[in-house]
């Protein structure tokens, strides 16, 4: 047993982080926020070239030949920077939908009642008849509402979404800590106050517990473990984003701060998956 990242996995994570820092920095993020619904196809192709979508295809089929643990690490990075687009659906379509693997084709799929990125996608795997647009609370994820019935999401889709939640939870923890170190009130950094310190510590605890669950589910593929990962990652992403708002105080309540983007995206991702009710019932039934 060696439940730690291998050197290759560390290198992969660093590579993706560097790629995203170069291709999707904060300016790009805010630009995406300012033009809701617009998908940057050049970035999409760059992701394709970097193997983001073909990651788990066999090398013989032009893929990278890696597994679910590696995909989880990559999607965690995507979640950290709030990378927009139907990433999970396109990744899962690689190998079956032509062009998905290379980032030429944008593929979307329904997440239960909600279909993201319908207008910007080339291929829609869900039955989109009767899809009605709504004004998405998340400026980075356009949504349509579907009349149903809905196909259940695949375990891979659940897990990769949980990985994005994990990345977001880790990032909002970092953002809160950074703000707490820099922001001064009453003559000192607010991070010197226990009330703020303990909020930040709780954020880390949530993140690390979710990390253990998500990584373990990626390694074992166990459905109950996946349900645990979903539950804990959803909770970590939403709760951390809220605590991050709180630590930021008034600043956290502005549109200009990025923290609300994490909260809204976390809501969208949690809403896309099973409800907590369904997940908890799966976990209870397994006892």
């Amino acid at each position: 047993m060696d439940f730690q990242l291998t050197d290759d996995q560390r290198a992969l994570r660093q590579g993706v982080r560097d790629l995203l820092a170069g291709r999707f920095d904060r300016d790009a993020l805010r630009a995406a926020v300012d033009v809701p619904g617009h998908l940057d196809r050049e970035l999409w192709r760059a992701l394709g070239e970097a193997g983001f979508f073909a990651l788990r295809l066999p090398e013989a089929d032009g893929g990278v030949g890696l597994g679910l643990p590696e995909a989880v690490l990559v999607f965690e990075e995507a979640g950290r920077v709030l990378l927009p687009g139907p990433l999970v659906a396109t990744h899962l379509a690689a190998g079956t939908v032509p062009g998905a693997a290379t980032g030429e084709t944008v593929v979307t799929d329904a997440d239960g009642e909600l279909l993201p990125w319908l207008d910007a996608s080339d291929v829609v795997l869900a039955d989109a008849s009767g899809a009605a647009p709504l004004r998405s609370v998340d400026p980075l994820t356009p949504l349509h509402r579907l009349p149903g019935p809905y196909a259940p999401r695949t375990p891979e889709a659940v897990l990769l979404t949980a990985a994005e939640q994990l990345g977001s939870a880790g990032r909002t923890c970092e953002m809160a800590v950074q703000h707490a170190r820099e922001r001064e009130q009453f003559g000192q950094p607010i991070g010197a106050f226990q009330a703020v310190k303990h909020l930040c510590a709780q954020m880390l605890v949530r993140t690390e517990l979710a990390r253990a669950a998500v990584y373990a589910a990626a390694v074992t593929g166990d459905p109950v473990e996946t349900a645990a990962a979903e539950l804990l990652a959803d909770e970590a992403a939403v709760r951390n984003a809220r605590d991050c708002v709180q630590v930021h105080g008034g600043m956290g309540f502005t549109w200009e701060a990025d923290v609300h983007l994490h909260l809204k995206r976390a809501w969208v991702r949690a809403g896309a998956g099973r409800t907590a009710r369904e997940t908890e019932e799966v976990l209870a039934a397994a006892l």
Binding site: R135, S136, Q188, Q194, F253, W255, T275
Partner: protein, 386 residues
Amino acid sequence: MDLTYTDEEEEFRAKLREWLASVLPGLPPKPSPDDWPGRRAYDLGWQRRLYDAGYAGLHWPADAGGRGATPTQHLIFLEETEKAGAPYVGANFVGLLHAGPTIAAEGTAEQRARWLPPVLRGDEVWCQGFSEPDAGSDLASLRTRAVRDGDHYVVSGSKIWTSHAEVADWCELLVRTDPAAPKHRGITWLAMPMDAPGITVRPLRTLAGSAEFAEMFLDDVRIPVANRVGEENDGWRVTMVTLSFERGTAFVGEVVACRRVLGELAAQARKNGRWDDAVLRRRLGRLNAEFRALWRLTQWNVSESQRAGGVPGIGGSVFKLRYSHARQELFDAAAEVLGAGGALDADHDWTLDRLSSLSYTIAAGTSQIQHNIVAERILGLPKGGK
């Protein structure tokens, strides 16, 4: 312990209801949230109606042009106007609840005569220039400078979270007049005319997407010394008078509104089938206990204030801590009732309320600060720790 209302109180309520029923149907249509001049006109129009009917400045002392009503009458007023769906205080908020009462308590006869009647009549709008980018929880560290030049102060600096700044006539402004003094002792309260040269107002967009607030940049703005309320460098004390007015009955209407929303959630859940989810149903039941008790706590605090001759007690911090949390829980429950398809729809009122509920544990003293206040001022634990 008496929860029944006196005959006088019941008569006050009956007359108010009657008046509301007669006046509300004749109101003009509500302006759009982005139409600031329209909102100003609408809010001032409502205030004028209140004035004409004798309800303006209900809780203000009679010698300031108010009705000198009891805290209980004020409670009834807030409860009934909310229940009837009357307009919110809106653009009149700062004038009626902050600046006005401050001037009434601390201003000269001349200042009272100049500024109070237009507030009550719905002629003038005030905004608040307290917070600064680097002075939030630690408001007393504010740095906007005012330098005396003859019979004027020359003011430079920046303010933030100034609501209705775009359409305000006046701003109650806190400035630093003595940078060398301990931070609470070098602050002065000024009434700044919003048409003075050197003021730039920039809308501040919140995470809910709206521009309720503004930033305000002051560049050598000249304000007459005559506009100072209270002594120079005594502005902190003057301000605390204002803030204590804010705490007493600030959330009465909101608690009434929350209880209405809770009923709507139950109705909606019964309609869409989510009522069968025992966890959600019991969560709504728990919120029922929570908001009923918050209502009773409001009545408790109001009665206490009434006995103290209208001075609100410290119980406001206890109330705010629990209420701000309960409000967030309420709109989280609303998201469950709606399901993802509704909860992620930015056009749904409850989605916006859910977003704006996040400010309740931050604005007017973060929950962290409120915990300190409760622990130190009520429980007597040692001050000033971290």
